[in-house]
Symmetry: C2
Subunit: 447 residues, 2 copies
């Protein structure tokens, strides 16, 4: 995950003009500019779309300029993807994109109609109409630039709501439709928020915010009022599936305040003038006055461990291992290498469970080149991560965890750390126990 | 129907460069250029789309340059139209267009994939990508121009099949998607054939050609090998529902040979090198060596008759009647006015049965202005039309009909004639009898 997340450049930055000097803290927006994003379940049928229109109306009535970003009606993208696969299992990604982008096109038109029926000026925008420019990596394209000028002009001239098809853009050199990959509408929303200088990007989801950990595992988990971008990035990439990682990256780079909130709240129950509706604000560190040492605990059972034993400790060995894995398109997550003894060392890494067999194959085939004596692997492992920007200034945070887990007889297989996070690889059977223990340890349990 | 059909200008003509000097008669195309159009039932599911791909492959293998025009999968457009109506019964036609155009977008991508799977170079084209320029009459736009240069370039450079989403284009001044109205894919196909200078435009339908009359009424009806554009225009507008009228108009103006053929024929059974596969060629009169006096009999039961009695025979009376009807968007079909007696005259016209009540209302409300004494109306009437370019040079064709129908005791309520057609308004109960009588009279029965 890391390699993909941090390894790639952020071509977006260079293209967008942004200006978020007018961020206005936690106070309600007074005549501000807002992006509202609704996912597939929020627009699953016409009744739900009309409900979304009421949410939008509320914000328009409060005086805001609004751009809405919509996903396809739930199930629609799967249907389209299924058809493409049925037409040919190996298919042209450019045609796949033309097919699947139609889902958001339909929703954008329907929501525009529903808004107009409420007496609100609105029009739909397809990615190619704005345009939202992308790379040519069809089916997993990156946004390279957005021209927000026409949308802003229409805000000013006639308070027209822009209803934007998410998940898609256009590769302008070829004029072909390109999609951003699954969950891409979150990224569309944040990128548009940056392009039109929005004060906030509201992501309406089926959860009412970001929690200290998964409430299904720890019923005492608390909803966080605010999370720093860096923390959310770790949480998202560590398995908290609220937001697409890429959208948080973009939010951080362009300082777009992202507000995660529930789409199940009734529009009529929400007062846009109230200080802050229920949800979690993802924002810059500076906006979080008093941060906890630990913000949240993320975990993932979808892990497999591969340990390469007694490799020669010389330059190029790590490259001999991870080069072939990268070529095989395998996302390596944790990497742990200890200081060598007697000129040899052990190297442990984890991969998604679904890539385990392929990764193992690659390492076995590269044995001569790598030069190891033994391979130890395990698929029944889990990764638990403790995240918090407060760690930067607090020593001994990880040590507390080691002690508490030892007390519960949880064996730690491997440890990695970063500035604002540490991750522990443990036996999968202990996942819930470990998460609950750490959640209590760091004072995250709800009162 | 006539008023709409012939009253409007054909803005298309001015915009397109066309060159059909290389028309090659009834001989099979040798390395020619072909448009193939498939309707909704032909692309109803992936299996059917793969079957379409085989049809296309056959023509590509025969050496032709091919552009394919596809409709939405059957039922899809109705679903989308239903959603738009559910979102708001009165909706913005521009949003309606964005929504419904997605149906053809999906099919074009799926067919491109299916073709690629057969090893054929292919790519999908949305209306806005080509672009197919249209007027801004959203939901019933007219094509104003097509730039076929890129498609032709790709024919020459790499024999790439163009898979084009039918029914849609773009109004370039606003950048919005516009659709052509129901059946618009036929029009797309013929317009594209003109723009890329195709040798023929094959329309694959659920019938295997154009018949002398409806075979359900006259089992002895014959498939016509060739029909002149003018005749087809009369047949189409008289109720033979094989082709959208507008597509025949375009074919006539740009001399695009249209071949109506069955999509149920198995691709493997067709030899593209054979002289002519089963179907009907709609072409210029010159290409029809020996024409029958009468080509076909069309009829329509969807008629209502309104007779305005004893109106003053002075200038402006017809305008007083038809002005308000036109403003009410009612398509008037037959109009019969006799030479006046005693300074007054009777005027009879017909309208589609569905418009009858509204039309009657309008005439009643305009009574003072028109100045008539009585209104006679009838809804149980039918129109039977006898069509044939041979009528131009044969006298007495209509007289034969009057005699034959009189013999059968079929009363004729009204008669209108044109150069290549005459229409009779009769009691609906006699429709089948009249059609069969005339079909036999003019020697159209199958041997």
């Amino acid at each position: 995950m890391y390699s993909r997340l941090f390894g790639a450049a952020l071509p977006f930055c260079a293209e967008l003009i942004f200006d978020n000097a007018h961020i206005i803290g936690t106070a309600p927006l007074i005549m501000g500019r807002l992006v509202m994003k609704f996912g597939g379940t929020s627009v699953a049928n016409i009744e739900r779309i009309k409900n979304v229109a009421l949410h939008v109306k509320r914000e328009v009535d409060a005086g805001h300029d609004v751009a809405v970003v919509v996903s396809a009606m739930s199930g629609k993208t799967n249907e389209l993807v299924g058809w493409a696969a049925e037409a040919s299992p190996l298919h042209d990604a450019r045609e796949y994109d033309a097919i699947v982008a139609s889902g958001e096109q339909v929703t954008s038109g329907l929501l525009a109609i529903a808004l107009q029926a409420l007496g609100i000026q609105a029009r739909s925008w397809q990615g190619w109409q704005i345009p939202i420019q992308t790379s040519d990596a069809h089916a997993s394209a990156r946004i390279t630039g957005i021209d927000g000028s026409e949308i802003i002009k229409r805000f000013k001239e006639r308070k027209e709501v822009a209803v934007i098809a998410g998940f898609q853009g256009i590769h302008e050199a070829t004029g072909r439709i390109a999609t951003l990959g699954r969950g891409g509408s979150d990224t569309s929303a944040v990128a548009i928020a940056a392009a039109i200088h929005a004060d906030r990007c509201d992501i309406y989801t089926d959860v009412d915010g970001v929690y200290t950990t998964d409430p299904r595992v720890v019923p005492k988990a608390k909803r966080l009022a605010k999370v720093a971008f860096e923390e959310m990035l770790e949480m998202a990439s560590q398995g908290a599936k609220v937001l697409q990682v890429r959208s948080v990256e973009l939010g951080m780079v362009h300082n777009v305040r992202i507000f995660v909130r529930s789409s199940f709240d009734k529009p009529e129950d929400i007062n846009p003038h109230a200080n802050q509706p229920p949800g979690t604000l993802i924002c810059s560190e500076e906006e979080i006055m008093e941060s906890q040492v630990v913000t949240g605990i993320a975990f993932s059972k979808d892990e497999a461990q591969i340990s390469v034993r007694q490799i020669e400790d010389k330059p190029g060995v790590a490259a001999a291992i991870f080069g072939p894995l990268s070529e095989g398109n395998i996302n390596v997550d944790m990497i742990v290498q200890n200081v060598s003894q007697d000129g040899t060392t052990d190297l442990t890494f984890t991969v998604p469970a679904s890539d385990y067999e392929r990764a193992k194959d690659i390492i076995v085939k590269s044995k001569a080149k790598i030069g190891y004596t033994r391979l130890d692997t395990a698929t029944d492992v889990a990764k638990v991560s403790v995240i918090g920007i407060g760690m930067r200034s607090h020593a001994g945070v990880a040590a507390q965890a080691f002690a508490a887990l030892a007390e519960r007889n949880v064996n730690i297989r491997a440890i990695t750390t970063s500035e604002i996070k540490f991750s522990l690889l443990i036996d999968a059977a202990y996942t819930e126990l470990a998460v609950r223990t750490l959640h209590t340890l760091y004072g995250l349990d709800q009162a």
